[in-house]
Symmetry: D2
Subunit: 386 residues, 4 copies
């Protein structure tokens, strides 16, 4: 969909007088009927001015970061107020990004998984402080117990990817279960005693997924669907299965030389559904985020749990709650957020709890837009009238 | 092609607390597999450099003339060497222009019709100098005889559109036959004695179509299909019937205020199939043009007939042969050409006989690109290697 | 979008053994790598079985009614649980219907307009029983007073379309205001004394729109946007302006002979925004309907007002409340509904208040699917688990 | 593109009388303007009846072989007379197959490569009977000399794929040159003495590609472009590079259970450009085939070389010339042909030299349509009226 930003809200002025038309015909075989003047309906959205600014901003992000395609959505007070696609979902076929286009959200998957954890905690089925073997009995016992709370805060000492993992990923190996994928790291030593150091780990979040599966007594993806996506109406969020046909899934790109694009390397993200393997739309993400701005989907105390920074044993704050990052934007606003960075994808989800605002940006190539751009986008909607 | 090492993900620059930032950078939250370096096949077309220039030129035309969509094709020595779509065939749905997209060619229809005249002349079925009532018996007799030769050179004194015609066109009236559409002007007085003055007239060419119908003893559109389009393989050329489903027909646009676009007025071009009512593709047009660069489809003497300027009785050259315009480009090259200008469309077809080159440009809004742009495009392909 | 109904939830069985492959190669140059077996994620929606039935039903409707395209959505307990497009939004370009595709909803516009009336009543700005000249001063005084309540129940004696109106419509005349369009009927005599007889009238609803405009002191379309569409998040509903570019608007079709399709006649629906001129999506319509199933957008007593059958002076029930039709389905369920029938469009919106279910079906040609099909679709979702 | 097979060539009968309209309005809020009757242009192609049959045949092939998408083209006397897409190029996005859609042609690549061999033979740059080391010096010497003639006839004793090759292919390894890919088999023993047995081998054809490269002193893909594709105007044929952006390349599918589709395994065909790695369109293939029906692109004696069955040393005919298969259809007609079978693709190219007819069918999944269907398609065009 091309940006229809300049759609005329005013009468056309392209009426050629008969005189001018006659003059034209004297020199050229013009045969066009002059176009009548049609008054168009008034620009109508109360957010119209903001949306125009945001549209220009999105087009600038598209250009500055050389994105093939970008999807942006904004929700205010629980309602999507703007959602639009920019650029292409498929460069070979010329398919525009639309609000239906599904992107790889990468590590934004972690906050989706965190919602499942929150639900299980509310239901009393998951004890955040129990050793994770209670839910994942096959996981090797380590020198110290590991808890789900630690895993969701990147405090458990589980390692992140190493070079040898990258080599495995390049084989596009498919894992048919979360527990099978745990094999990639489960026998490795912890980086440190749990609780003593922050170490970002997607593997750690895959283990969180296994905990969800064990606590829910239900396959992880099925539980996500039933307990998170369906209750929130996120009908466009799903695992990025490489072989399944998934409506409106974007193609995935990488940068080529001289500003060109090429296809991203083929990847199979089945090793990391919980930590980085979901597809979603910008609209679904802002709906998801909006459900975290007031009690309803989750209780007030559960939201507090998600959004309270965990601490090291030393007492030092980490800035990460249960999956969510907690911070302050360059403009001085409280923000709750996560980014995603993945082969063929870039994602930002940011909540401004004091303004009841949520923004999401999704790109179909690995690019460097991030918290700065999300915060700038949010600012454009801060003075929402009434 | 250069290596694609630019794909390697660099550590992202998170704007979080120093603690988190440090921790993240130590292991990098990137989960993208580094993309290997893939040598791409060599740029291969011998016209590659020319095409790149032409592509940039086409994009500039698209932008400068605020076209929603543009299609360009170039043929050399009888073969299409480049054909590409730019912009959108449908702005509401985001459908790109492709080489299959059909545009309104407006008055370029006149040279299509002229080819039918040429075929009938070759078959001995049409005498260019006979009074047209020989083929269109119902056409009112005028103070002077009118011939097909005069009509094809805009020398017959038939009037062009007047204001009252525009009013009729705006009603989108549908004509079920050419002869019915002749009623729009057939009873009007001639502008001057045939042969004495040049007066461009689409109505005159509609009458040429009726002559074709009469000489061929076959409905005009059917004869065009059988005698012109099929022999030349022009499978994407057809009448712009408003209700028929026609594959890949573009939407038609008009300019709105401030550089915006809106839908063109709804029109029914059935009143002017021969003079301006065809749809075609840039590829079909350059194929058509190429068939006029050497004998084959038509004989050598017939080509000479088409491309020799007719003269007024005063002996003055008109610069128009049988439908075709004959001239010299700003760059000093012999050109044979016609433009089209129509509600929702703009068209240029230009032949450079000395270079065996043909170019076509088709736009889906009434715009002012014309002979100058066609000539510039042609120049880009003049130094075709070997 | 093709219906992806049969997406494989189970492992593929297309693995060729080396033996079989060898045998194939003996007779054929097969070079395909055998396709590995990929376990796909489980079918996950709790409505999965219902959706499969509904998808088959929609495909049958598409086929039985020879629709080029169809969009269907279902909401339950205030949430969209299914939304899918079938067939084509554009037959010439092969564009699939998606949930974003906008259709002409025809007279379903009347219940949209009724929501604006309800809002104004709640705000105390509109007295349903005041003579309409209070809000539309220029409307000619008739022998009896006419009220907004009567107009919304088709009881005011305003006539519907006559042959001479159809002739006017075929001219595709554009009206730049509601009041200008009232000129089509405002000087005509009433069919009967208001309140004494039911006479369905789109003109009457256009007058309701003028009342809204007068009561709101705001242009009708702007008020609809601000007071109805925006509060409900209906971002894909707008006036069917013929010249404006409207994202994802379907093309409009008519039946040709022998089951074929052709383009619908070009129409300009500006004469009837309130009574039949809106574009919408099936999703937007079920969101709209859902907002009528419990207080929130409107108060409980206002909902009662909308959904209580008005009576003739004789005391006879009309089965129509404020715009809405009130009835019982063939299956014996209470239903609140409206259909739309328009050049190039067919629409059904049906609410099942006892089941908190809403369904919408939108087609892009005039066809005969109606209440029966909507009720059947609703039945498929009646046993929604939990 | 949906098949527009039933486009109405006759007047519509959908005119509702005022009476009927009135009756409708009594029971339903119909507001549709009756659709006027528009006479459509006559069905015009002289092949119209044949094309209608062929279209039905293609739709049957699409259905019977459960193809996501299919492209079909037919050329007669050197001209494309029909070309049409069926089904989908992209099931996730709902993109129709069009004549521009590029498919994997698999082993049809062998006859493309054979044309390059033929060109080099004509130019005197390639001796078919010289040991191949003359052109590929690094190729290991075998117990017997191997010639290009033998390779093109599958007589050289080079092996085809084994299980261990399939394992390598599944790694999607990318080869940056033909000679690098020869490493997959070049050190293996010959199956038999060259000339003594027929053994179909794609590896053998990859070696032919290396011979072309050596004889032409030009990279294989570049020579193909310059010496075959450009002279023939095959602008839609190219190597199926996995990372390059290639306009209108189809997605590739595999069969799932119960008639469903899924994505084909990701493959990198760089190990077999000459033997099976090209993308093309049905139109390009019939243009290619047509150039083999009379001298022009190749000389008469070169065509004879391509189309004369090679013999074993025993004197037994193999039915294979230089790459091409030579046979007789079930209907008794002489045919020259090749099929392709590849992950995500199926291809058939068949020439009927006695009828100057060429047909091509391309599918985007591995399916079993083959010579039988091509021959049946050809039969439909056999009685082509002048």
């Amino acid at each position: 969909m091309p940006a229809l930003s300049a759609l005329a809200p005013r009468p056309s002025v392209l009426r050629l007088s008969a005189l001018v038309l006659g003059a034209l015909l004297a020199v050229a075989p013009a045969s066009a009927a002059p176009n009548a003047s049609y008054p168009l309906p008034p620009a109508s959205s109360r957010h119209e001015a903001q949306v125009q600014q945001a549209r220009a901003f999105a087009q600038k992000v598209l250009k500055d970061f050389k994105l093939p395609g970008l999807s942006v959505a904004v929700a205010h007070r629980g309602q999507v107020i703007w959602s639009e696609g920019f650029g292409y979902a498929d460069l070979e076929q010329g398919i525009p990004v639309t609000p239906l286009t599904r992107f790889r959200v990468g590590s934004v998957s972690k906050v989706l998984t965190a919602a499942a954890v929150a639900r299980l905690v509310e239901e009393g089925r998951l004890n955040l402080d129990a050793p994770i073997q209670k839910y994942v009995p096959a996981f090797p016992v380590k020198p110290w117990p590991i808890t789900t709370r630690q895993l969701t805060g990147h405090l458990a000492g589980i390692r992140h990817y190493l070079d040898r993992d990258e080599a495995i990923f390049q084989e596009s190996r498919h894992f048919s279960s979360l527990t099978q994928a745990l094999g990639l790291f489960q026998d490795d030593a912890l980086l440190s005693e749990p609780g003593t150091a922050y170490a970002y780990s997607s593997y750690g979040f895959n283990l969180v997924g296994a905990v969800v599966e064990g606590a829910a007594h239900e396959e992880f993806l099925r539980y996500m669907q039933r307990a998170v996506f369906e209750p929130l109406g996120m009908r466009h969020t799903s695992a990025d299965h490489p072989h399944q046909l998934i409506p409106h899934r974007t193609r995935f790109y990488a940068n080529g030389p001289e500003g060109s694009h090429q296809h991203a390397a083929h990847v199979d993200n089945s090793y990391k559904w919980p930590g980085g393997g979901f597809l979603s739309t910008a609209e679904d993400l802002v709906v998801f985020g909006s459900a975290h701005l007031q009690p309803g989907f989750l209780r007030k105390e559960t939201l507090a749990l998600l959004f309270t920074s965990q601490k090291l044993k030393s007492g030092k704050e980490t800035g990460v709650g249960l999956g969510w990052r907690i911070g302050v934007s360059a403009q001085g606003r409280r923000i709750l957020h996560h980014r995603g960075a993945i082969e063929g994808g870039r994602a930002m989800l940011m909540l401004f709890p004091d303004s009841q605002l949520v923004v999401a940006l999704l790109g179909n190539t690995y690019a460097d837009f991030a918290e700065e751009q999300a915060a700038q986008l949010g600012e454009l909607f801060m003075t929402a009238p009434r």
